[in-house]
Subunit: 396 residues, 2 copies
């Protein structure tokens, strides 16, 4: 019996209703704080911090399936999971709209439901590799702060159409219901996306307001009862525990858009002002197997991993290559499993290694012109590390 | 008799007064439109476009001196040089200030005069190298859109202190007196810098309001009678023919900050919104001699060029290296001439070439962590090309 099934049972036992079509289409998961213990620390994820909860899976686990099980989906939070009473829950839509909205979950579920598969990745994925040059702050992610899930919910564009966006709207802010202790006081996690992205409708909306992940209600760790999912953008723009949407002519002033999640050399105010917010993620990838420092006999070795093409509409993986000689020569890897817009691509390769082989390297390109470079300039917050992935091995 | 001397004579003949200390400390250069013909097309610069005037020097000329003579200093304009009557000229300072200012040139010259040496470079320098992958628009610069000059003028910080900057000021806008034809109508060239940069005083102010270049009044091509010089930032932020300063809580809405001069893949509105303005320039460099495609005998060859460290306060060139084998091995170059913050570094090297040598490569690093990478992702406007510089040669 899978953990997913266990969770669903527990939801029902706790009084949660079915996933769609009933009075509260969003299950009650998470109302009981005890339900948070369903992700016991260290069982399915390696927690880099436990308060707030920030965990990533073992890479070998992570690449076992194209769709990442919820239990192996990285968790990135800035505060304890808020406990939300869905009977009280309201989503507000305000700012530069003709008709501000206050929607309970029933009203929201009147909107046409949409489902997309999309990869989320933290801007800090692979951050620890920057430490070789100079220690960077933030959650010490290795290469597991990434996951691919089926998201179900409602197109942001549909909600905005209902509210009636005014002519001078330029950005759409998201604000969470979490409470983050900052030196200046308590703030929610927040951010914004350009209005052009927000208004994208159709099969792959620019942003979704999501209540279900892989066919089940969101877990508290992933934003229950409602979160944003913005395909193609760094995870930070997919605000969890979504409570408020503001349409504005300015980018969000929230700390996590205006200051954090920027490429800066130092953390001076001038650096923050000079640097724009990160929205799209660049191409990235990692070797998931063998294990780092694995002892393998000389001969052929099987290698596998993931590559996420850059978060640009229509971008697909173009080339995935492995080097056993430090980047002088490269051999192609084979894609495996499914491929889809805004989704990672799993891959495998069989390469020959000799006692002289010290490491395996991965690089890749995408159809949007993105490539994993040999080296990435250090930045103080350790974002967007996407250099050739290096896996040290020991050949016997 | 040097051209500089000629120009000064002509200024005096045209009624221009001495450079400092008299009633109009800013010479009248440029009042006579005929004086623009002092830079005859194609003599000292290679003009990529003549209307507006956009020219760069031959690289071999460019690296002959640490201070670039005005006649060999690249010209980047978006409209015809405005003809400005300095008796009518006023600089206005408005927006989030306690006391808006309207300053004529006499009043401005009451401020303490400051002099700095700083390199300016166009964000589009080396743009043509992007064309190998896919043609990019804009002025087709090779590697000469860079120059180093002695600038004399007044610290922006002093002017802002006089106006009294309000608490919520975040950006300082500059607006030129030129008139650029755009699809939406006629606009001045403009841009802005963060308030933290604008308020830097001392020996190396964050920005200078400049009336003299290399000891003479600005030429019309370089912004007579007054321009901004922002050490460390791309040339576009050093607005020429400066007429207006606005202190604001927002970045400038001017096209050349809000839309142009951004790293975008396509020129969709969404790309522009997603991408922040470029302020600082990254490290860059070029091989100036020998000439491209030069036929040189096997043996040793003398190489020279420039490297500009990234535009971060205190950043200096750390390492300059040449490769004759496509980047497999590298040999050090020697710095020559002067070195100074926000200034380029000239260098030379003597390397061995064989008939197998197809090209010389340059790469460099700086003390701010910047490096010239092997490859730079293509962008639609062709900005910030700073990959290893490749000089093809033919060894006989």
């Amino acid at each position: 019996m899978s953990l997913d099934w266990n969770r669903r049972e527990l939801m029902l036992a706790a009084g949660g209703l079915a996933i769609t079509g009933l009075e509260f289409p969003l299950a009650t998961y998470g109302q009981d704080p005890a339900s948070q213990s369903l992700d016991p620390l260290g069982k399915d994820l390696i927690f880099r911090t436990t308060d707030p909860r920030n965990g990533e899976p073992e890479l070998a686990q992570l690449v076992k399936s194209w769709i990442t099980p919820v239990k192996h989906f990285y968790v990135r939070s800035h505060a304890p999971n808020p406990v939300i009473d869905i009977k009280q829950f309201r989503l507000t839509v305000e700012g530069k709209v003709r008709k501000p909205l206050t929607l309970d979950l029933n009203q929201l579920s009147q909107m046409p439901r949409q489902q997309v598969t999309a990869t989320l990745t933290c801007a800090g994925n692979r951050r620890t590799e920057f430490n070789e040059e100079s220690k960077v702050g933030g959650v010490q992610w290795e290469a597991g702060a990434i996951g691919n899930a089926r998201w179900s919910g409602f197109a942001l564009a549909d909600v905005l159409h209902q509210a009636g966006v005014l002519e001078d709207a330029k950005h759409v802010w998201f604000e969470g219901l979490d409470q983050i202790q900052r030196p200046q006081g308590v703030i929610p996690f927040g951010g914004s996306i350009p209005i052009e992205k927000a208004m994208v409708g159709g099969e792959m909306p620019g942003a979704l307001l999501v209540d279900q992940m892989n066919g089940s209600a969101l877990t508290p760790d992933h934003g229950y009862p409602l979160r944003t999912v913005v395909p193609g953008y760094i995870g930070a723009r997919s605000v969890k525990w979504l409570g408020k949407i503001v349409v504005s002519d300015q980018p969000s002033p929230n700390h996590y858009l205006a200051t954090a999640y920027k490429i800066v050399k130092k953390t001076d105010p001038i650096d923050w002002t000079e640097s724009g917010p990160i929205y799209r993620y660049p191409i990235n990838g990692a070797i998931a197997t063998p294990q780092p420092q694995a002892r393998v006999p000389a001969g052929v070795v099987d290698v596998s991993g993931y590559v996420l093409p850059s978060g640009r509409p229509g971008s697909r993986v173009q080339r995935i290559q492995i080097s056993t000689d430090g980047g002088s020569t490269w051999q192609p890897a084979k894609t495996t499993g499914q491929s889809s817009e805004f989704c990672w691509q799993l891959w495998k390769a069989r390469v020959k290694v000799t006692p002289g082989t010290k490491a395996l390297y991965l690089r890749a390109t995408d159809t949007a012109g993105g490539f994993m470079p040999a080296r990435v300039p250090w930045n103080a917050k350790g974002y967007l590390q996407n250099r050739w992935y290096r896996l040290p091995i020991s050949v016997t």
